[in-house]
Structure formats: structure tokens, C-alpha cells
């Protein structure tokens, strides 16, 4: 069981809702993933084209917890404003703090992320900041009261996997709150690697929505999360530089 603030989840896979080829595929992918947490962005409504279908409004909201993000925010004030808007929906108290500092790398602004986290924790939100793989910043975030830490494996949407598994491991070993690897994951192997490092969960979007078959990939990711988690709990063998036979040396035929 994964516990974040007052919420508990059976599934350790969080799924983003952006860039799916169609709502039909997206619904099937969400089902196949087994996720209980879906992320959303907050945007102005197009009041002149309001008949456009809205994915959130098609969901059975008793089955999922919403994790709105503050994507689009470049400052502390913008992030806090989006968080307030999201909470006023009455649908959620969780917020993914995302303050982007740079349009090329989409890396988060560490100082603004920490500041926004402090404010939103104080205001009673369940706060999950998206951060870089900096272990010291991660520590400052949970010291500030963040309910989970969400370090990126590599740049958002890049599919590069985990570029610095060592730093992610430092973050995981240090953190008293759950660590969810967010951003950059490209394949089930990346997911299994994250879980085998001891991550408490992963947040995926493009790796599923951009796959040739998003529904199959959602299923694969579900299994990768479970396999990686079981592998971590089981405890892998140490790596050795010499071979060790698995079969007995005794009782050989002459």
C-alpha cells in the first residue's frame, strides 16, 4: 500500500492524461494501467466551444483521485493561484507543484518549487512537488512538509529513462515520504529500474500516450511497476565479476 498524506493507494502507477490519440483509447489505457491517480492541468475554458468533450467529465470520479498540476506556472504566485483554482473544484486536495524555469529543458525552478511547496503545505494541501534529481533539494522539500517527492528521471517527455539512478537512489534512501519518479520514463524497463531502486511509484504520461499502442503499453507499465516493486522487496543478488555455478559440483558422471 502506498500512503501519501491521508490517501492510500493499491496501485503505484500514476498516469498523466495529456496527448492521447482519442478519448476512447485513453479510457482503455487508464483501465489497463490499473491506476488510481490521474493528473490534470488547469486551463481557461473555451466558452465558445464548450461542447468539446472533456475527459475528466467522462470518468467515474469515485474510482480515481485527481492530481492536478500547476503546469504553466513560472512563478510561485502562478503556481499557488492554479492550486487554489484546482482545490475550489471540490474534487481534490492533492497538488503536483510544477514551476518550470526553462522552456528548452522544462526543468523546474528549484527555489520557486520549494517556496510554493511551503505555502501550499501551510494551506493544508497534500503537496507533491515535481523536482530535479538533486538529493539536497529533495530533502529541503520534505523538510518543508511535502507529502511526496517527485524527481524526474530525465527531461519531461524525453523518454530518456533514468539518467542519474545514483542520485535517485540517494533521494529514495534519504526520504521519509514516498518518492514517485516522474518525467522522462520511456519504457517498461525504465519503470522496473525505478521500482527496483526502491521508488514508491512512478508517474507516466507520454510513455503511454505516445506509444504505438497506448492500451498495451499501459498494461505493460502496470506489470513493470509490479515486477520492479516485487524485485525490490525480494532483494536482488549482488553483482559479481566471477561466474558461480548454479548446479552442484558433486555427483558428476565419470
Amino acid at each position: 500500500m502506498l500512503k501519501i498524506g491521508n490517501h492510500t493507494f493499491h496501485s503505484r502507477l500514476f498516469l498523466g492524461t495529456g496527448k492521447f490519440p482519442s478519448f476512447e483509447v485513453q479510457k482503455k489505457a487508464v483501465d489497463a494501467s490499473g491506476t488510481e491517480v490521474l493528473t490534470f492541468a488547469v486551463r481557461r475554458m473555451n466558452i465558445y466551444q464548450q461542447d468539446q468533450p472533456n475527459f475528466l467529465e467522462m470518468l467515474d470520479l469515485t474510482r480515481y483521485k485527481l492530481l492536478p498540476n500547476t503546469a504553466g506556472a513560472q512563478t510561485v504566485d502562478e503556481a499557488v493561484r492554479i492550486a487554489h483554482l484546482a482545490r475550489a473544484s471540490g474534487l481534490c486536495d492533492m497538488i503536483k507543484v510544477e514551476v518550470i524555469a526553462d522552456t528548452k529543458t522544462l526543468l523546474p525552478d528549484p527555489i520557486a518549487t520549494l517556496e510554493a511547496t511551503k505555502i501550499l503545505v501551510e494551506e493544508g494541501f497534500t503537496v507533491l512537488p515535481y523536482t530535479s534529481d538533486d538529493p539536497i533539494l529533495a530533502r529541503k522539500l520534505w523538510e518543508a512538509g511535502a507529502h511526496a517527492i517527485m524527481p524526474g528521471g530525465s527531461p519531461i517527455g524525453s523518454g530518456q529513462g533514468l539518467l542519474n539512478p545514483l542520485y535517485l537512489r540517494y533521494i529514495i534512501e534519504d526520504s521519509p515520504v514516498p518518492v514517485i519518479i516522474d518525467a522522462g520514463i520511456g519504457s517498461p524497463a525504465d519503470v522496473a529500474q525505478a521500482m527496483e531502486l526502491g521508488a514508491d511509484g512512478v508517474l507516466l504520461n507520454t510513455a503511454v500516450s505516445g506509444a504505438k499502442d497506448p492500451v498495451k503499453m499501459a498494461q505493460a507499465m502496470k506489470w513493470a511497476v509490479e515486477a520492479g516493486r516485487l524485485g525490490w522487496e525480494a532483494g536482488r543478488i549482488p553483482k559479481k565479476v566471477v561466474a558461480t555455478a548454479s548446479s552442484p559440483k558433486e555427483g558428476m558422471l565419470d
Binding site: G16, T17, G18, K19, F20, Q26, T39, F40, A41, V42, R43, R44, M45, I47, Q50, N54, F55, L56, E57, L66, P68, N69, A71, R81, H84, L85, A86, A88, S89, G90, L91, I156, G157, A183, L203, N205, T206
Partner: protein, 67 residues
Amino acid sequence: MIIQLNGEPFTVAEGTETVADLVAALNLASRIIVVEHNRTVLTRDDYPHVGLQDGDQVEIVQFVGGG
């Protein structure tokens, strides 16, 4: 009366006096939306109590796909 709605000028019809009236006039009463009035975020219970005035800034947002 003209307000700024989602960053654009919007002419409010006669008889539309509150945020609740505006939301109803836009056929949004049953939708999952959040309204911000002059930078104050409102809950649904606030809508009937917040009057509209010329030049008000109103934002109507929704949840869209994102990661």
C-alpha cells in the same frame, strides 16, 4: 455591461447580475469548472452571492489533459 471573460471583452446580457447568472447563461451550471472573480477564487456556493460589475475580470477554468 462589459466584463473581461478569460482575457477577452464579453458583453453581459441584461438580467445577468451575479456569477451564478453568468454561469447559467453560458450553460456551464452542470460542468466541472472553477470561477475566479477579480482574482478571488470562488466555490460553487459563492456564485449567487458575487455580483458582476462593469470591468470585472472573470476567469472560468476547467481540468484538461496534462501530465
